[in-house]
């Protein structure tokens, strides 16, 4: 039977267990994804292997990891695309809880800082909105919060800045482009959100499993909005006079 060799990173920092690698040999089935191989290990070889997963259908975004060094969803990556040796490591931008599980709670803290959807006072329920007006926001709403974009972002990984990160820019863009929303989030994104740190290397866009054009459609337009808002006094005056969001 054909097999694949998995090299899985193990560690538990809180109890002083340093990083080591365990190797496992796993039989390969047609169409098998990496999460199947990890489940084989968990079910048959080592039930204590910590891995976060949930839907195994690329819907929930739980099983993000680095596969042969590339940030990917384990449930969406077929074994046959990676060859017969696969190294599986946790996401490196987050502190490790145990083995492949990282502590992503910081993302939930950032999410709380983003003002929620707030409908325009004049919007009467039920809303009347054209389909064409929802299409831009819709792209960002497919975000499954896997945090792969946060993981691959070198500003977050290496510079320890206060940059919110691509995932949260996507969230803000989804709210900003909601046709019924009335909040201006650009000041937040500029000051506390640190969007200026992003130098648009597009790594986040490259790893997004939902193919959201994070840099092109969320980050760059948000940067442009900030420029308009923060650096254009005349535009600002017009908006104040007319009471407009943009």
């Amino acid at each position: 039977m054909q097999t694949v060799k998995l090299k899985i990173q193990r560690s538990e920092p809180s109890s002083g267990k340093k990083v080591s690698y365990d190797e496992f040999e796993v039989p390969v089935e047609e169409g098998m994804v990496v999460l199947d191989a990890v489940h084989y290990v968990e079910n048959n070889l080592d039930p204590s292997l910590a891995v976060r997963w949930n839907c195994k259908a690329a819907r929930c975004g739980s099983c993000a990891a680095e596969l042969n060094g590339m940030p990917k969803l384990m449930c969406k990556t077929r074994v046959d695309t990676l060859g017969d040796h696969i190294t599986i490591e946790p996401m490196k931008a987050f502190p490790v809880v145990k083995d492949l599980v990282t502590d992503v709670s910081h993302n939930y803290e950032v999410a709380k800082k983003i003002p929620p959807f707030t409908p325009k006072p004049e919007m009467k329920s039920p809303f009347l909105i054209n389909q064409i007006d929802i299409t831009r926001s819709k792209e960002f709403r497919t975000c499954i919060e896997c945090f792969l974009c946060q993981d691959v972002c070198h500003v977050i990984r290496e510079h320890h800045s206060d940059y919110f990160g691509p995932k949260h820019v996507v969230k803000i863009a989804s709210l900003d482009l909601h046709p019924a929303d009335c909040i201006d989030r650009s000041e937040l994104l500029y000051h506390e959100g640190g969007l200026g740190f992003c130098d648009i290397t597009k790594c986040c866009q490259a790893v997004c499993p939902e193919d959201i054009r994070i840099t092109d459609n969320a980050i760059i337009p948000e940067k442009e909005r900030i420029v308009d808002h923060v650096y254009d006094p005349i535009g600002r005056l017009i908006r104040v006079v007319k009471g407009r969001k943009w």
């Binding site: 538990e12 809180s14 109890s15 089935e29 047609e30 169409g31 098998m32 994804v33 199947d36 968990e42 079910n43 048959n44 039930p47 204590s48 292997l49 910590a50 891995v51 976060r52 997963w53 949930n54 839907c55 195994k56 259908a57 690329a58 819907r59 929930c60 975004g61 739980s62 969406k76 077929r78 809880v97 145990k98 083995d99 599980v101 502590d103 992503v104 709670s105 939930y108 999410a111 709380k112 929620p116 959807f117 409908p119 329920s125 039920p126 809303f127 009347l128 909105i129 054209n130 389909q131 929802i134 926001s137 819709k138 709403r141 497919t142 499954i144 919060e145 709210l175 909601h178 929303d181």
Partner: protein, 578 residues
């Protein structure tokens, strides 16, 4: 008093709250919003990360008779569709709440920020779905569940509701028929917590992972159901498990993964290996859009009679609608076939077969308050029972979450304002800590996974879409045998993020649930809705009743509960019964 206490033997943190909600899917989150708005101190715990609950996988839409597309639609037609397709086993009062409150809940979700697809006039668009008389499903492409959970999650995150995610509740405490609290452990911290509370809402979802072939995610092991049973709550309609007609079948890795009913709602047709559109023969009027139990049985029949596909399924074809339509309306379906099966659904046919999808049965609740027979213990969502009868319509589960999530949050909050906090004794806490830690302290522990897999294989093979006494008895014998084998299950390493430990706890719950399910299936000697007995075909009047299980000492007590007929004028325009 959220301070850490040191008892003599074990460490645990005590948390005091008014309401503890178990489960952060649609029902749990909606309950939290409601209770919080009523000024009640609310805590929500979730086995997964926040926002990952099984609700996220809901695809096709949420049912509400808005009449945006078909103006003739109204709550009575929604009521009739739901009640009749549930083969008159549902609780008519709950169905009435569902049908009447649906529109308010959808528009409320829109005010919370959900962005539904629109009609040309700019209203919320509605698509056709199986056995709904009119086009009724409000949707966000085929990612409605994602939009729903993200919207509710954002709403809750901006309140002072306390959230504990990646947190396992292992025990609900009840004394003298009253809830006193619950306890469990944080997976990330590896620490025990005890919750002193006035009310507990179980919103922990269904039991889909009892089956090997399932569309359900990791969480659906029925933990809440099993804990409620142990706390004294009555469990009803356990035998009623929905098999969705269309799950993926190939490759083996994704076997059971859901293919949304939206594919058929948007014009997809079912074909056998001869290229015949067989639904024309079985259901000339509703065709592919008959109720799920009917279509699932037709698919099964085609496969069993040798007209199936290479991998043992039937074909589902939507390619005639063209790439543009498919990419807009069914993007997830395109992705999942492309990535997992290497099939381009804009050009090729999908291979599908029935998959375990939903549990209509669950914890019996009062239709008005959603409270169980245990004082202070509430349930809503898939964990509860009563709305869907013997068969659930597509789109009715998402609306169930919102309608009854809210109702349970509301009545639990009301309950809290009239009751005080109870004490949980140290002995009870110590006992529970000992029960959980024994799994990680055993020498030479037995791996729980192979046992769990055997249970799941048995359930899929013997308690599936067409059942009979012999198979069910084999399943029950296997469960009894498995029960005796779990005395030494366990896992190495500690409490902290240890999937093997959680599997041990889940396995006990699953065995409990499987036993009730199979006993119910043996008991119901008729075919009704999703429960099909080849040895007892046809619906029988003497079985127009619910089968109820309660705990009696260490055993199980079975009883029947009559079904009340709805007021006659609630039923409109459709035939009564099938």
């Amino acid at each position: 008093m959220p301070t850490g206490l040191m008892s003599n033997k074990s460490d645990f943190t005590r948390v005091t709250t008014d309401i503890l909600i178990i489960g952060a899917g649609g029902a749990g989150l909606r309950a939290a919003i409601e209770a919080n708005e009523m000024g009640i101190k609310t805590t929500i715990v979730s086995k997964s990360l926040l926002g990952k609950a099984h609700t996220v996988m809901a695809e096709g839409g949420i049912a509400a008779s808005l009449g945006n597309v078909d103006k003739e639609d109204n709550w009575k037609v929604h009521f009739t569709d739901t009640y009749e397709e549930g083969v008159q086993l549902g609780n008519w009062r709950m169905v009435e709440f569902l049908a009447k409150e649906a529109a308010d809940r959808v528009y409320e979700l829109e005010r919370y920020g959900a962005l539904f697809d629109r009609t040309p006039e700019g209203k919320i668009s509605q698509r056709a779905f199986g056995a709904h008389t009119y086009r009724r499903l409000c949707h966000v492409g085929d990612k409605t569940g994602l939009e729903l959970i993200r919207t509710l999650q954002d709403k809750v995150a901006h309140t002072d509701v306390r959230i504990y995610d990646e947190f396992v509740i292992s025990k609900i405490f009840a004394t003298g028929g009253k809830v006193t609290g619950a306890m469990g452990f944080s997976m990330r911290e590896g620490k025990f917590y005890v919750f002193n509370c006035k009310a507990v809402i179980i919103a922990s979802g269904g039991v889909g992972r009892l089956f090997k072939v399932t569309s359900n995610s990791w969480e659906s092991t029925g933990d809440g159901l099993a804990m409620a049973f142990r706390a004294g709550a009555a469990i009803m309609d356990m035998e009623m498990v929905q098999f969705h007609p269309t799950g993926m079948i190939w490759p083996p890795s994704v076997r059971g993964l859901l293919v949304t009913e939206g594919v058929r709602g948007d014009g997809g047709i079912l074909l056998n290996n001869k290229g015949e559109r067989f639904m024309l023969k079985y259901s000339p009027e509703k065709k592919e859009l008959d109720a799920r139990d009917v279509v699932a049985r037709c698919n099964y029949k085609e496969i069993m009679e040798g007209r199936g596909t290479e991998h043992g399924g039937v074909y589902l074809d939507i390619s005639h609608k063209g790439a543009k339509f498919i990419m807009e309306k069914l993007p997830s379906m395109y992705m999942q076939y492309k990535e997992f099966a290497g099939v381009d659904i804009t050009k090729e046919k999908m291979e599908v077969a029935p998959t375990t999808h939903y549990h209509m049965g669950g914890i019996r609740v009062d239709p008005i308050t959603n409270m169980t027979n245990v004082d202070g213990l509430f349930a809503s969502g898939e964990a509860a029972c009563g709305v869907h009868g013997a068969n659930r319509l597509g789109g009715n589960s998402l609306i169930d979450l919102l309608v009854f999530g809210r109702r349970s949050g509301r009545s639990a909050a009301q309950f809290c304002s009239e009751n005080s906090i109870h004490d949980v004794s140290d002995t009870e806490i110590e006992e529970e800590i000992a029960r959980v830690t024994k799994f990680v302290e055993r020498k030479d522990p037995v791996n729980p996974y192979p046992i769990m897999n055997r249970l799941r294989e048995t359930m899929s093979a013997r308690v599936g879409i067409i059942r009979n006494e012999k198979d069910l008895q084999v399943a029950l014998d296997t469960i009894t045998e498995i029960k005796q084998k779990i005395g030494n299950i366990g896992v190495s390493q500690g409490i902290k993020f240890n999937p093997g430990l959680i599997a041990c706890l889940e396995l006990e719950n699953m065995i409990q649930n499987a036993e009730l399910l199979v006993k119910g299936a043996i008991e119901r000697k008729e075919s009704r809705g999703a429960h099909t007995r080849s040895d007892f075909p046809g619906t029988r009047d003497e079985w127009h009743k619910n089968i109820v299980f309660t705990k009696a000492g260490d055993g199980i007590e079975m009883s029947y509960s009559p079904v009340e007929d709805p007021p006659e004028d609630f039923i409109v325009n459709v035939k009564k019964g099938r």
